[in-house]
Symmetry: C2
Subunit: 128 residues, 2 copies
DNA sequence: TTGCGTGCAAAGGTTTTGCATGGCA
DNA sequence: TGCCATGCAAAACCTTTGCACGCAA
């Protein structure tokens, strides 16, 4: 486990503390902290996830997104058409309902960042 | 859009027609059809997805999985801990309930292959 | 001083693409 | 015959890793 507090680590924690409104890709974090090389960035991102300071999610393009764990900023789940790629978001009410269902069924605290995959109405019509 | 019916395409369609019980990675399809190079395989996999013959999903490791679209084989959704990686599946009842919620909210036909990300009970405890 | 963390460069794995050739209609 | 699809190789992309050096404690 981590032992030292380096500037790099401190800088990344500060970044997430100051940016709690959304999730960021490694790319975005890097653009805010250009002095930190990618290798170190990924190492720290992974370490901070393990420490429970930030959390790692999967974005629509399947790359990682990172978010401050204490973020009090509820998001809504998305659904992406696996045929045409169209992505929409579910309303807040549905998102909360699903969170509750998942929690009571699995004991996990589901993230609001989940991306469902499915067929949109247009693509369902196309399907003979 | 596709025009020609080549053996490669026919072979892949046959593969999925005969294997409807689960989703397959490109790697797995390739092991069944070793004569088809990866580039062609990916091109056809993508084309068949667009044609609505198979569908493309995201696996736990974020690589693509492909499944016959007509598959009458219901699966259950999964939830994966974004801290420790532990993955469990939701029971069938919860899965169906969520599918209905998503459908009525978005008009999309949600896939049972969705993977939620969240914090498992152990990791929630560790979080101070 | 000790050994963990960093930085660099290179590798890893999946998926995509350019281009000349081959094969379906 | 005309054009689409294939095959090969190489690239693209995000992320990980090996290794020697630097720095926190």
């Amino acid at each position: 486990m981590a032992r030292y507090n380096t500037h790099q680590k401190t800088a990344i924690i500060s970044f997430f503390t100051e940016h709690q409104t959304k999730s960021y890709s490694a790319e975005e974090v890097s653009s805010y902290l250009p002095a930190i090389p990618r290798s170190t960035l990924y190492r720290l991102l992974s370490q901070l996830s393990a420490e429970g300071i930030i959390r790692q999610e999967t974005g629509v393009d399947r790359t990682s997104l990172y978010r401050h764990l204490g973020s009090g900023c509820p998001e809504h789940m998305h659904i992406r058409c696996c045929r045409c790629g169209r992505t929409e978001h579910l309303d807040a009410e549905t998102t909360r309902l699903i969170e509750k269902l998942v929690a009571s069924s699995s004991g996990f605290e589901a993230l609001d960042s989940t991306i469902f995959e499915g067929l949109c109405s247009d693509c369902m019509k196309e399907r003979k």
